[in-house]
Subunit: 274 residues, 2 copies
């Protein structure tokens, strides 16, 4: 099993932390630990970085490739920040197209992007121009999964409003995000469970690799504040569990099938038609 | 008494809320309530908006002018977002220069900017290119007071680290922020109190006009989350009290004197020298 996950969003939205939390492993290093004392706003373009890791889920080995994009949204002029990222998605399609055309096809290494986690800043207002521009450029090439970053910034009420605004913006701009196919002959329980997951989109998540103690004495992954302790795996506190179910349990195969049977075929058709 | 306060920062950093909280009055309307259903990311340039309000502090009437800058940091290309703001600061200096040169000077209406509250996004990393660019453009024209917005996003540890990073970035770029003059003949108590305020810069603040109930039953201004209640006026929770003391109590006169005797004179000298 392999999963190629593209992770995009402005710096400081907790992306590295969330990826590590999802797979419960220190896969990505937070920027903080790499910073030097001098001018740290020294990104002058978007870079593509790839980190590989092997993890185990329910006794099954998962080969993970995390593609990150430092520099996205960092500059005073971000007009072209989408380009290197789209190029990367395309080059991975091209790589597969080229491998497919060879004689020995049985061992193709699938490097295509299976899902994009796009991190939205928890402003409470509507999507930014940059968010919309980027999602419009990429939504027809990858399975787009929007998440609200650092959702502990928002009260329960604000999360409901914000999700509504985001979904309205997404609808207004004809942006397609990942929706699993609904099979009519699926069992009721599966349909209900899947609906529960998708109803939470965009997922309002928090991430943490720190162990903290709750008021009732449990040791959990979470964040500790003077006014309280927030728990990653508590569905009353955020949608982390739902995101994890989508990515790793319920829809992993579907994300890959949609990439292979629909998004890739679409790219291939357009490319060969030129 | 009058105070002209310039408020700058990206959308959704809680600026309107914080201004209302500082003066305990609904002076600014949050963007949320103005948003329409269609494309809400419709700012294509930085606008200058002015809101006047009369408030009472300790029985003294304060004539407040809040200058806000919707559109700042909103676009995909923010390279020139500082220009309309600098123009506004300059035009207010020009306005005063022109009034000063008339015969009847006794009733000059002082519209000069007395302080700039610059809101920093609580990323936990270092300052963004846009933050640095803007502060470098404006720090020699206004009293710059940097604040960390929505500081409830950061744990106590993260606040300490973040403040250090910000101060290092500010130092590295030779950015001057407001420092009150230390008079050697001031009473010890005053010096100690002032130092306590200034030691907290950049202030990590939260804002709220909502009344919430604390676990021990008090009704306070704050934000209510499933994991706890954060209080605006609790110094264990954030630096709001210190910011308020700086702006309204301890240094209000000094902010105005520094504007009048130093920043304005500097502008005047450079302008007349041309
Ligand atoms: N409030 C809050 N802070 C977080 C969360 N996740 C990470 N952080 C903190 O945000 C800062 C930046 O996190 P990082 O993962 O490096 O963000 P990245 O730049 O997007 O990769 C660090 O100080 C983290 O501890 C979260 O869910 N909520
Ligand atoms: N977590 C947190 N949210 C806040 C704070 N202040 C305001 N908000 C929320 O952030 C959102 C945007 O606030 P607003 O004042 O309109 O921000 P502005 O766009 O900068 O003027 C609203 O949903 C506020 O309730 C704060 O200190 N902490």
């Amino acid at each position: 099993f392999n999963l190629n996950l593209l992770v995009v969003g402005e710096s400081g939205l907790g992306k590295s932390t969330l990826i590590n939390t999802l797979f419960n492993k220190e896969i990505l290093v937070s920027n903080d630990d790499l910073t030097n004392d001098e001018d740290t706003s020294s990104e002058d373009q978007v870079k593509i970085e790839t980190t590989s890791s092997e993890i185990e889920e329910d006794g099954v080995k998962l080969k993970l490739e995390i593609i990150t994009t430092p520099g996205f949204g960092e500059l005073t002029n971000n007009t072209d920040s989408w380009k290197p990222i789209i190029d990367e998605v395309n080059s991975r399609f091209d790589q597969y197209l080229e491998a497919e055309s060879r004689v020995n096809r049985s061992t193709i290494d699938d490097k295509r992007i299976h899902a994009l986690l796009y991190f939205i800043e928890p402003t409470g207002h509507s999507l930014k121009a940059l968010d919309i521009q980027f999602m419009k450029q990429i939504h027809e090439k990858v399975n787009l999964i929007p998440v609200i970053a650092k959702s502990d910034t928002l009260s329960d009420e604000e999360i409901v409003d914000f999700k509504t605004k985001i979904l309205n913006d997404i609808k207004f701009h004809d942006i397609k995000f990942f929706k699993p196919f609904e099979y009519e002959n699926d069992e009721e329980e599966i349909l209900v469970n899947n609906k529960k997951i998708m109803d939470k989109l965009p997922f309002a998540v928090i991430g943490s690799m720190k162990e903290v103690k709750t008021p009732d004495g449990r040791l959990v992954r979470g964040r500790s504040y003077p006014w309280g302790t927030i728990e990653v795996d508590n569905e009353e506190h955020n949608d982390f569990i739902k995101l994890r179910q989508l990515l790793i349990r319920n829809f992993l195969e579907e994300l890959k099938e949609n990439t292979s049977n629909y998004l890739y075929e679409k790219y291939r058709t357009e490319k060969l038609a030129k």
